[in-house]
Symmetry: C2
Subunit: 277 residues, 2 copies
Amino acid sequence: MGTPYRPKITHASRPLTFAVRSMNEHGEWSDTQIAGEHPLTLYVDKREIVTLMTLGARPEALAIGYLRNQRLVKSIEEITAVQVDWETEAVAVSTRRGIQDLDGRMKKRTVTTGCGQGTIFGELMDEIDKLELPTDVYLGEEIYYALMDNVRRHDTVYKTAGAVHGCALCKGSEILMFVEDVGRHNAVDAIAGQMWLDRIEGRDKIFYTTGRLTSEMVIKCAQMEIPFLVSRSGLTQMGYEIAKKIGLTMIGRAAGKHYLLFTGESRFIKSKQTSLT
Amino acid sequence: MGTPYRPKITHASRPLTFAVRSMNEHGEWSDTQIAGEHPLTLYVDKREIVTLMTLGARPEALAIGYLRNQRLVKSIEEITAVQVDWETEAVAVSTRRGIQDLDGRMKKRTVTTGCGQGTIFGELMDEIDKLELPTDVYLGEEIYYALMDNVRRHDTVYKTAGAVHGCALCKGSEILMFVEDVGRHNAVDAIAGQMWLDRIEGRDKIFYTTGRLTSEMVIKCAQMEIPFLVSRSGLTQMGYEIAKKIGLTMIGRAAGKHYLLFTGESRFIKSKQTSLT
């Protein structure tokens, strides 16, 4: 067996919050915590790809997940090294064989709703038809509520400083990883990168996000083969249509005991209601 | 005098909300309103630039504002026509003389925090030093509260369907325009475009946004020469640092009577407090 392959990798996270002065409505000045935001330029085999604005919590996983979700790299084995250097605000990724047709693939750019990433949207939309989500996994309402309770208790940058989005990869009611970033596309990408590093499959997982359920979020969730997507926010029309088309189980407006289940209801097992009257 | 120049322009907004079915925690299915989200591919002189995911409320102003904020077009006079066709999901912009060095300028891409637009960030940061915001305009606390009250009363897609960000251009306590979009970068761009169309200057205005105060938001506000930026959300470190550097008057966490003034306090006139004790 042996340990699974890992690229040579740094662990260079940044301080996540900073104190600045602010004056409130009573005219009082005090320290307020705000979220970090740093430019990080991604180079693949010494070629500049993109600059990401990030909180800096998991820059290596972010770089890997960006390349994964943009379909620029096909497997973690193709990556030999991921090295973050905050002094030059750069992450250098080395690959075994380079990226095929990088010029052609970087030409088309889509500014996706939440947060454009130059996603090659046309190609992604073509891929949607090929995506197959598992139909033999289920989420019980009680497990769902237990998970929401764990999410609520989770210690977050958001509670301290706001201005970040959080995403979690979950199994049953357990949070396997929780990543926050100033852009929620970054938080999703960092989870996708960490899943590759840790050899975690999506097929029996639940993806939770504080952000809205837009086309981009639904597509990324489906690309990771995760059949459940839960958000405390609302959804957009394209997010809804794509989720319906691929049969994703999508829950929005999750807050306390309230939720709205929009699509993929066959995977959701509602508890029997005991009438109060 | 005569009417100011206007490009030939369509007025092709889309329906903003749609009803879909959802099941709540009581097992009841009902109609829920969700926000529209449509791809809109921008062509300049028949060349494809980018695909924007948009609510579709003001697609023409969005296209103009995108070109303005990306510094691809220098004035409204350079644009001869803006034509939206939802059947082909395209907006065609025609210019008098084309865009100089388009290839070079589209090469560098930055995914900005909230919502990357392929902003040519390096160049923008160079420009920051040149930006000068007026120092002879002031905002009184009572006017500020009256404006917040108007914003709260404003009828919005957000109230009906959620999942959108809103931006407003304001003068004193009056809302001059209010634009919502599924991406807040789009809402800012649409306001920038409408300001060009209507020949509105930024120097005596207030910019309000429901979104976070990130580097991108602060830079765009300053590019429009607007000295006041107000948000109900929090801010990021780079948003703070840039605002401080350029002397923008920035207020965050605006909710009810509460606010936090972070930078540019010399333009903010606090009302005299009457002690309750």
